[in-house]
Symmetry: C2
Subunit: 228 residues, 2 copies
């Protein structure tokens, strides 16, 4: 599923965005039930639109829909979490390689501008903005790499990463340190392909290392599996 480069506009996307933010900021816990009528009332839209939004979020891996039961915030297991980070390293490595092949000098300031926004949000302590901008940096790299398809894949990967981070992070958030982004920009500007790739891989490894993926069985709705 992979969506086009532009973010889908319209009221459906707004619902998705708000639910996504609530999940990323941990106001909605994994496993939380998402009643359609309740959401329709909160967002002041029809149930049909809520169903549409939930369907999109399901394809993004953020919610799980059980037929005749309803929608729940997804609870990615440790296996899925490792899978996501494994694939993400491979994808982002390709993004960096392709980006260095294609980026022009005129585009470098775009990266720096984004970075400064990240630093400002960091100083303000604006959690919501930090989360959005951290992912946005990686998406910007993919966009400049010039492959709509890689962009779509990364969009999906980042959504899932956010949920996984919200679910498994052990300490403070430090979602994506701006410092590592700065170092990445340096090497990209210098067209240092091996160096930039290595920094990206280290960066993603750091994010993963802050998670507690020690086979701790996540809370599940399947009580049989949880209690027996």
């Amino acid at each position: 599923m992979y969506h086009s480069k532009e973010t889908v506009t319209g009221p459906t996307a707004e619902i998705c965005e708000r639910i996504w933010l609530s999940i990323a900021e941990k106001r909605l816990r994994p496993g939380a039930r998402l009643k359609e009528e309740q959401l329709a009332e909160i967002f002041e839209v029809s149930r049909a639109r809520v169903r549409q939004a939930l369907s999109v979020l399901e394809s993004d891996g953020l919610v799980t829909i059980v037929p005749n039961r309803g929608a729940f915030v997804a609870e990615p297991g440790v296996d899925e979490a490792r899978d996501v980070f494994h694939v993400r390293k491979q994808i982002e490595a390709r993004v960096v390689e392709r980006l260095i092949d294609r980026i022009t000098d005129a585009q470098i300031p775009l990266l720096q501008a984004h970075l400064s926004k990240e630093r400002q949000a960091d100083q303000r302590g604006d959690t919501s903005a930090i989360i959005r901008l951290s992912g946005g940096f990686h998406l910007l790299l993919a966009e400049l790499a010039g492959s709509d398809f890689l962009f779509g894949i990364l969009r999906d990967l980042i959504s899932r990463s956010s949920l996984i981070t919200a679910m498994y992070r052990s300490r403070h958030l430090h979602n994506c340190g701006p410092d590592e982004h700065a170092a990445l920009i340096e090497h990209i500007s210098a067209r240092d392909k091996p160096g930039a790739t290595q920094i990206m891989l280290n960066h993603l490894q750091h994010v993963e290392d802050e998670l507690d993926l020690t086979a701790e069985a996540p809370t599940t709705r399947d009580l049989r599996q949880a209690l027996v």
Copy 2:
């Protein structure tokens, strides 16, 4: 969207399947309009279900939905076509590497069984089955590679590849020769990672080479772009 490993069941999926087949077999041309009411009448289902199916097909990149205008069979441009094949080579190379790391001897017969089905369909001249099984082989590799995420990506890539093939193929179809699949199984069985990867890349290159991607502007609905 990346869907779970199992194909979505239910009546919606059936609609998707039939539309997809019509596209893959060239009975629906790229750019063809898909009126909701018409589809509802043909499949003898409600319009709501048709809308749902079209929404899924859009996220798979097979149809384009223009707000307040309707749904059309997608018309991937040459740039998008090249992008899909470029990414597909990278993804499938990773799939093969990972598969060789994980596959057990007990799983090899699964590949051979699939191959024999392909050969049977080939002898029967069953176009519909050939198209489905050719893609299915690549999906089977991804499934055995053990990454749900890579599987989902490949599912999307193969859908789009089918549409691109239907749109741009110049000569006979030869969608995915079973012979190259056979050679691939050989090298996978022998755990020859570089060899298998190379065969996969050559295989995909052959498929791409049969297309006519010579900047021939595809028919577009945007007349302004087509005529000015």
